[in-house]
Symmetry: C2
């Protein structure tokens, strides 16, 4: 993390964007070291406990596993929850680039536990951007502190990826509030016992609103209504009807929420809600939360991979099995000495380091987009973030599915035991490529809104940056393989971008048939680009008198590994993308 | 299945190898239809039950889920268990090519349930090949019938992939039997309530045996010793100490077995066992079982993929979500209309059909190897089977990991629910790439014993056959893309084979660093070859007056899909394999 913050972004410049926080480089790094200790000592030990115990549901209440309440209390008391939040509402005002690294630590320690904070941060972002001053003052301080948590209520049984099918209704009341009635499913952290209140952000339809997504508005529906002092008071008509039994993330409640399900004496039925932002602008507000959450879920892919790597590496160093390949000796060795175990670990390592680099770089761009005094810089940074978000979310989580599975493989039969940490990482992360928009949703966003809409400008920029790194790498003897792969990769990105734009003009569905392979291609390019930047930086840093040669040389090797053993995949994807897609759709639904 | 049996092998010739069975083509196909009904009506409904209920362990006894005992009884009573077995011992004497298709049905209906039979068939193969006439007559009839089951006892805590570390001891007794003492772990179906007896085949070391695998012998250790009438009599000193809680296959017991753990009054401790075959030839006998099991586990990869496809396809046809891409209409459509869902289903379909074709072709080759009157034909067929086994086992199961995960993805959030069938397929099959030799073990077997040892002869033969199919395909307008991919693929196989042989001569470990990518490459080649043969056959069959045009055209489209959207992966693998492997091993163990 220190390497990425030091060599891959201009940390001083990022810190300067937050003058009110008065944070210097050393304090920032020291804070991460402190976060790592907290993650290791307090959160990580609960990962196995939470997986084993799961959640208790009774009469609408959800009880978290042993130790969760205490850990969460300490987490918010020590200010970790508020790390990236606005000091005006009690936040610590840390740059996103640094907060994202802290989030990797929380997520890798216990993905399920950390989800609660992710949702709350999403709600904070939405409220900060669009809520009235009154709502902000009443709700943001407790949300920022973590005393209350937030949720994102989108999905209904008939409305998953397709939000236009949402039926939950919000009827205006005479007092200016709304009465919300409907059922929401798959609501993460919709009910739990970690906080005093839960602030639901609910996407709903007002009477006579336009059909489809244009008729959706966003409502803040507190679990407990606030009393005159702003404290949680009387209950609202919001009920958790059940929780799901899932493959992983056993300690993260996934709830079915009923709004306005209780009978009333008065004529007005429904949970009391407050309109957030303008009427019929619900989707825009949802996307503020969603983009926040997508960056978080991309970080989840990184975190799961890193934890799976650490688990598998420890096991591979300790598990003695077989003798060294090609050796005449029959002395037994740790399996980390076996060729294929090494290959699998290198895949995990390269991807984790590349994803982390990308995470820091996107985080720094978010900081620029939020804080730069220069409008053009803000604009450029925002475009980069918008472009990278689906790649980071979709690519990291798909990679994490493969890489956590390698973690299982390295454990052999032990990896298949329900309580093996390797199995847990693999089970926990499987939802990450689904929630907050499936990989196909990310891919369609990438090819449509992020590549086609700007005529491929951002995509070509990535190719140019990649090529620049590649050409620089080619001048170093140790980096020639990496350099060549990056230059070739940049050409591939340009080629595919042109083909995509050409096809998109003729037939959007044709492009959507290969949008996921396109996303995978861009993810490999982005990871290669960042590993390349890291290798160049490491090469440069080697000369320093006090440099950590062992660490820096590993950076170079890891980047070369990725270039030689993963980037060839780009050529396969190019061929798959540019081939005729006829065969994908030639069959009738019945023939498939 | 009928298509594969009709067009991809010479079924009449295969049937002619089993004259005593007096089976004709129509009866063989009708038997499979009957098997399909049994699988669907009796076995498949237990899949969810078994996953949910799991197993009960108490005092060394294991109870299977509700309905398992009855279903198993009907299964053996109707003779399904004995389908491929020798009529001399009560078997039905069906060719392997046909029995393998029945096995796909059992496995896809309930992978966990079917495992018991797999182990028994492995034990039967070992005993048929090497046991004394006395052991055969006492044990084979009940094993063939399925009244008793078999197990394969290899793994110990310190001896997983490395069997040379086995410590279980078998001491000769004065009566010619042995006393077996030791602990075995991860023993599939080591204890259960489906049969009257369990026949353990135990790999153990005799006193003063040579070190390593050369000192291992195979012992038959019955759970219950036989009485004078050959019925299960007094208990043997074999105890199931515990069962594992696994990620999937909840109804398949994975046991820890203790041999000779009870105190005795006499000086002789240990479970009574009978030597199978010659002393110190245990590994050879183990490989007879193992190769049988590997073909079965490869079929498991096929079966899991097919079931995942059927589950996902049904869901995709019924789940209404979103409107058609590129359409102005906002009418909601089933998700099978969405481009990426279609792409994922086509991946599953192509792989399932290719794996099934390969399964039948390998099955027919096993029949030739076992039964042909021509020694050279037997020899050639056996070489083909030996070559294909690691490809089929390793490649199918790795593909099944990806493809069952696509099944989860198609289900969206519902796929992450513990009791979703899609999640079950994905969880159940995750062990298949681990047990009976991990993918790396298969890959090392492929590059060493199967490619290097014969100087690449079998590998080049595959390339030649692939090229022939490709060139034939190129002459049909509808198959040009397929033909080109097969010809290119054949060249890639030749190239990689040459590089492999060259490197292997210099440094075996260098080849092992990329042995898994090599296995993946050969798997894609083999699948493409078979899909190509199928497409050519379909093309030919289209002209027939009563041909099923819908079905046959789907074969052509599916093969083209694989050629255009999966076979490009061969080029990526070629580059990965031929690149320098230095970066995989350049780091010290601490640097990884």
């Amino acid at each position: 993390m220190t390497f990425a913050l030091t060599h891959l972004i201009d940390l001083e410049r990022v810190l300067a964007l937050y003058p009110e926080t008065d944070l210097d480089r050393d304090t920032a790094i020291a804070t991460l070291a402190e976060a790592a200790r907290f993650a290791e000592m307090v959160i990580a030990p609960l990962d196995a406990v939470g997986d084993r115990e799961g959640l208790q549901y009774r009469d609408g209440e959800v009880t978290t596993p042993t130790g969760y309440r205490e850990a969460y209390s300490r987490f918010i008391e020590q200010g970790w929850h508020a790390l990236p939040c606005d000091p005006h509402y009690g936040g610590q005002g840390f740059p996103r680039a640094i907060a994202a690294m802290a989030e990797e630590l929380w997520r890798s320690s216990n993905m399920a536990f950390t989800g609660c904070m992710t949702l709350t941060h999403g709600a904070i972002a939405a409220l900060e951007a669009r809520a009235s001053a009154g709502l902000k003052e009443r709700f943001l301080p407790a949300l920022v502190k973590g005393r209350w948590s937030g949720t994102m209520n989108l999905t209904e049984p008939q409305a998953g990826s397709d939000l236009s099918a949402i039926r939950t209704l919000a009827a205006p009341s005479a007092d200016g509030t709304y009465r919300v009635k409907g059922q929401k499913i798959f609501i993460s952290w919709g009910r739990h016992d970690l906080t005093d209140n839960i602030i639901h952000l609910v996407l709903a339809r007002t009477p006579n609103a336009p059909a489809g997504v244009r008729g959706l508005s966003m409502f803040l529906v507190p679990q407990q209504l606030l009393d005159q002092d702003g404290n949680p008071g009387p209950g609202n008509d919001v009920r958790c009807a059940s929780i799901e039994v899932k493959v992983g993330q056993h300690s993260a409640p996934t709830t079915t929420m009923l709004y306005g399900s209780e009978p009333t004496d008065s004529g007005e039925e429904g949970a009391i809600g407050y309109l957030v932002g303008d009427l019929h602008k619900g989707l825009e507000i949802m996307f503020i939360m969603m983009n926040e959450a997508r960056f978080g879920v991309g970080t989840e892919g990184l975190a799961a991979t890193e934890h799976a790597l650490q688990t598998a590496r420890s096991y591979a160093r300790e598990r003695i099995q077989g003798s060294e390949a090609g050796s005449a000796s029959d002395v037994k060795v740790p399996i980390i000495r076996h060729p294929d175990v090494r290959r699998m670990l290198m895949r995990m390592k390269a991807a984790a380091e590349g994803m982390r680099a990308l995470c820091v770089v996107i985080g720094a761009a978010i900081d620029q987009a939020l804080r730069s005094s220069d409008a053009q810089q803000r604009n450029e940074a925002q475009h980069f973030v918008d472009f990278m978000t689906p790649i980071f979310k979709g690519g990291n989580t798909e990679a994490a599915n493969e890489l956590t599975s390698l973690g299982v493989q390295i454990h052999g039969g032990f990896g298949y035991m329900e309580d093996c940490p390797a199995a847990r990482h693999w089970r926990d992360v499987r939802i990450s490529a689904i929630y907050e928009g499936t990989t196909a949703i990310q891919a369609n966003d990438l090819v449509g809104r992020k590549i086609a809409r700007d005529g491929g400008a951002q995509a070509r920029k990535l190719a140019t940056q990649m090529r620049d790194v590649g050409e620089a790498a080619c001048t170093h003897e140790d980096l020639v393989a990496l350099g060549a792969a990056l230059v070739t990769g940049a050409d591939t990105i340009d080629t595919v971008t042109n083909i995509l734009l050409d096809r998109y003009g003729h037939s959007q569905p044709d492009v959507l048939l290969v949008s996921v392979p396109i996303l995978e291609l861009f993810w490999i390019a982005a990871i290669g680009w960042q590993l390349g930047r890291g290798a160049l930086a490491a090469q440069g840093a080697l000369a320093a008198a006090d440099s950590d040669q062992t660490f820096l040389r590993a950076k170079i090797v890891t980047a070369n590994f990725f270039a030689q053993h993963w980037m060839p995949q780009m050529e396969a994807l190019r061929r798959e993308i540019t081939a005729s897609s006829d065969a994908i759709v030639a069959l009738s639904d019945d023939q498939v």
